[in-house]
């Protein structure tokens, strides 16, 4: 055995330490003209394939850019973006949901020129999309797509209880739902702490009864008789018509429950229908027909103060710390051109719709009448979180604390009386809107 003296040990370990210190420099992966974009794992996997296999080579040819597409779980994007912004190092472009552009506005590059360009060329950007992406008069990010939420429902089971078309009001929906639940086919809806299906259900529900979080000046006005009315209605509606396990559901539970035939209706993106289409042999009705032939879609019913909707917005932000912001902007400009965007839009088959009006008129909508209700989804959205104020940081805080959803959940679970739940929620909002 070789004898290791203290001296030789010191000499070798000194060299090793020097190597470690030398390697301490962050390795540089980025090439001169490459753009790194982080997006979610699309619920339509074919769309990610378009980005990697169609967009990437074409961008290389058209702009000489190397496009590096990375996809992660949507829930993990805020953590990733926070870390990148704070350390000033990371991908050139982040895909951000809903109003996150407002939260990260100070870390963004102005992209107004691109928004003006494709907005003008494509019939105008939707108002809601503009509100989400414009901060202080300039575009801090670009609206890429909107995923409308519609109620997917089982046509035959609704027929069975005498509902020939989808109920137009919450009252009718409750009456129909009561019969459905009696037939062991309850409505399935989440009131859990989950980012998608819960708030896109509870916010429009609140608005359709005339309740709102704040007034236009940012004063909390949630504690109103309209809000209370909506909570009371929900409690009864929940007991009468819903699968009460929904208090613990996340965004995927209703998909599974619907596909397995446990629930008759649920507010969702088109993913239930898409899954039923793709698994036509696997998902069947009780009579053995493919499940997708028994699915239709409808917008949310109306309350005393009209019908509302909440659709999930997907936006792209070019980061200020990026060393290739120019390349990133050029890529987005290129991607938003009609002939390029169309390739991505087509594989979505209506699950995601475009940020501008021109896409409502696309011939794709003739392909499948079941998907037709999604066509005008984005256009129908009139309100955003924090209504009647702005969808700003405060609105996001209320949204992320699930205050409106929890208000309903507290009352439905019997933990609080409706009056207490409303008072609690108004109090929590008051601490945010100071």
């Amino acid at each position: 055995m070789a004898r290791v003296t203290r001296r030789t040990f010191l000499q070798y370990s000194g060299a090793g330490m020097a190597a470690i210190l030398a390697a301490h420099r962050a390795p540089v992966f980025a090439q001169a003209n490459s753009v790194h974009i982080v997006r979610w794992n699309d619920f339509v996997p074919a769309a990610d394939k378009v980005l990697r296999e169609v967009f990437a080579p074409e961008v290389q040819k058209a702009l000489g850019l190397k496009l590096n597409v990375e996809t992660i779980n949507a829930n993990d994007i805020p953590a990733r973006a926070t870390a990148s912004i704070q350390s000033g190092n990371g991908p050139d472009i982040f895909m951000l949901l809903n109003n996150y552009p407002h939260l990260y506005a100070s870390a963004a590059v102005d992209v107004s020129s691109v928004a003006d360009e494709f907005g003008k060329a494509q019939g105008g950007i939707y108002d809601a999309s503009a509100q989400l992406n414009r901060v202080g008069g300039k575009w801090v990010s670009l609206p890429w797509s909107v995923v409308p939420a519609m109620i997917a429902y089982r046509k035959s089971w609704f027929d069975e209880v005498g509902a020939k078309s989808f109920p137009k009001t919450w009252q009718e929906y409750q009456a129909v739902g009561k019969k459905l639940k009696a037939n062991k086919h309850p409505i399935g809806q989440t009131l859990g702490n989950t980012f998608g299906d819960a708030p896109t259900f509870t916010y429009p529900f609140l608005w359709s009864f005339g309740g709102q979080e704040v007034d236009a000046k940012g004063k909390v006005v949630l504690n109103s008789k309209e809000t209370l009315e909506s909570v009371r209605f929900m409690v009864q509606f929940w007991k009468d018509a819903h699968d009460e396990g929904g208090l613990a559901w996340d965004d995927s539970n209703n998909n599974r429950a619907f596909l397995s035939g446990d629930i008759s209706a649920s507010l969702n993106g088109a993913s239930i229908y898409v899954a039923a289409l793709n698994g036509a042999d696997k998902f069947k009705t009780d009579k053995g027909a493919p499940l997708h032939t028994d699915i239709l879609h409808s917008p949310l019913p109306a309350g005393p103060k009209g019908a509302h909707a909440y659709h999930t917005a997907f936006n792209h932000m070019v980061m200020k710390y990026s060393k290739n912001a120019k390349g990133a902007i050029e890529f987005l400009r290129w991607a938003h051109r009609r002939e390029n965007y169309e390739k991505w839009f087509l594989v979505q088959k209506g699950f995601a719709v475009g940020p501008t009006r021109v896409w409502e008129k696309h011939a794709m909508w003739k392909n499948d009448p079941v998907m037709l209700p999604f066509r005008n989804g984005a256009a129908a959205q009139k309100r955003l979180m924090g209504f009647a104020g702005q969808p700003d940081k405060k609105a996001a805080e209320a949204w992320n604390k699930f205050i409106v959803t929890v208000m309903y959940a507290q009352a439905c679970s019997g933990k609080m009386k409706p009056e207490e739940a409303v008072k609690w929620a108004a109090g929590e909002l008051g601490k945010i809107y100071t």
Partner: protein, 303 residues
């Protein structure tokens, strides 16, 4: 000898002094501690006193973030939940872990395999096992509900995760399941250091099994037990992944722990300052626990 001396560099010679060598060898460890523990901790302290948001350095706001947290009903609930969760999970882990350790300390066939397999829940990454439990508790497809229902034991599904109280107990159960092997194995190691002679002597004096446990095993095992409990309290009190995966803090915020709520505020809403303040509420509690128990240990050692 003089030749060799001439060849070595002054640096190497300097390091031959015990003091300098010790410093040099300790330096990497200290550097790692400073870099990954002290620095983030000081940063968190600083953040908690400012209105820093993502991408916005903010300004000094004093204790405003802490004041907001104290008045925040969701945080109050998260704090209570954390204490509840830690208390019950630790009690169960200790009781069941002790029982298991006593059983495993006996001689039986396949002793080694059984002892090794005990550690399985502890080895599986928490995220994976929490997902498995979530499926077992699934409101619609719960395997437990299915068995009870088809066994004719229940007529309605049990609300494992959809009722706040049930969900909290489910979380305690999963944490117990996960943490118990750590208790069992550590206590088992402690048990094996206790000389069988003591038990024999006690038995000769007429002590029954309970007396032997209470007057011989328990006092001798106490130092080990205390250390395990301290570790467990720290881990359980600052638990994040289990709740994040199992319930996301719901339903109606009823299972939020301090860590999950701080994450939701700090990262989800971008309010880094407030998130840091929330998570710092864990510090004094954990510090107190560690301090009291370590002091107790020291006193016992001196006694």
């Amino acid at each position: 000898m003089s030749k060799e001396r001439a060849r070595v560099s002054p640096l190497t010679r300097a390091l031959e002094s015990e003091k300098l060598l010790a410093t040099a060898l300790l330096a990497p460890g200290v550097a790692i501690l400073v870099l990954f523990i002290a620095y983030p901790f000081v940063m968190a302290l600083w953040y908690s006193l400012t209105s820093v948001r993502v991408g916005d350095a903010g300004e000094f706001v004093g204790i405003a973030n802490f004041a907001k947290a104290v008045n925040d009903t969701i945080f109050q609930m998260a704090f209570k939940n954390t204490v509840f969760y830690t208390f019950w999970a630790t009690i169960f882990k200790l009781a069941l872990g002790m029982w298991l350790a006593l059983l495993l300390n006996r001689h039986f066939r396949f002793k080694r395999i059984v002892r090794a397999s005990m550690l399985l829940p502890f080895i599986i990454p928490t995220v994976l096992s929490a997902f498995a439990w979530r499926w077992m508790f699934d409101p619609t497809f719960s395997v437990m509900n299915w068995m009870l229902y088809h066994g004719g034991m229940i007529t309605d599904r049990l609300p494992f995760l959809s009722s706040g109280d049930w969900a909290m107990w489910c979380a305690v159960l999963v944490n117990t399941w996960r943490g118990m092997p750590f208790f069992a194995i550590t206590l088992l190691a402690g048990l094996q250091t206790i000389s069988p002679d003591l038990h024999e002597a006690a038995a000769l004096d007429g002590a029954n099994a309970w007396h032997r446990f209470w007057h011989v095993t328990w006092p001798l095992l106490l130092p080990v037990t205390l250390v395990v409990v301290v570790f467990s309290v720290i881990q359980t009190f600052s638990d994040f992944q289990l709740i994040y995966v199992l319930t996301g803090g719901g339903p109606a915020n009823s299972t939020h722990l301090i860590a999950t709520y701080a994450y939701q505020i700090g990262v989800g809403s971008g309010l880094l300052g407030e998130g840091a303040a929330l998570s710092l509420f864990m510090f004094p509690v954990l510090f107190a626990v560690v301090w009291v128990q370590l002091r107790y240990l020291k006193r016992m050692e001196n006694a």
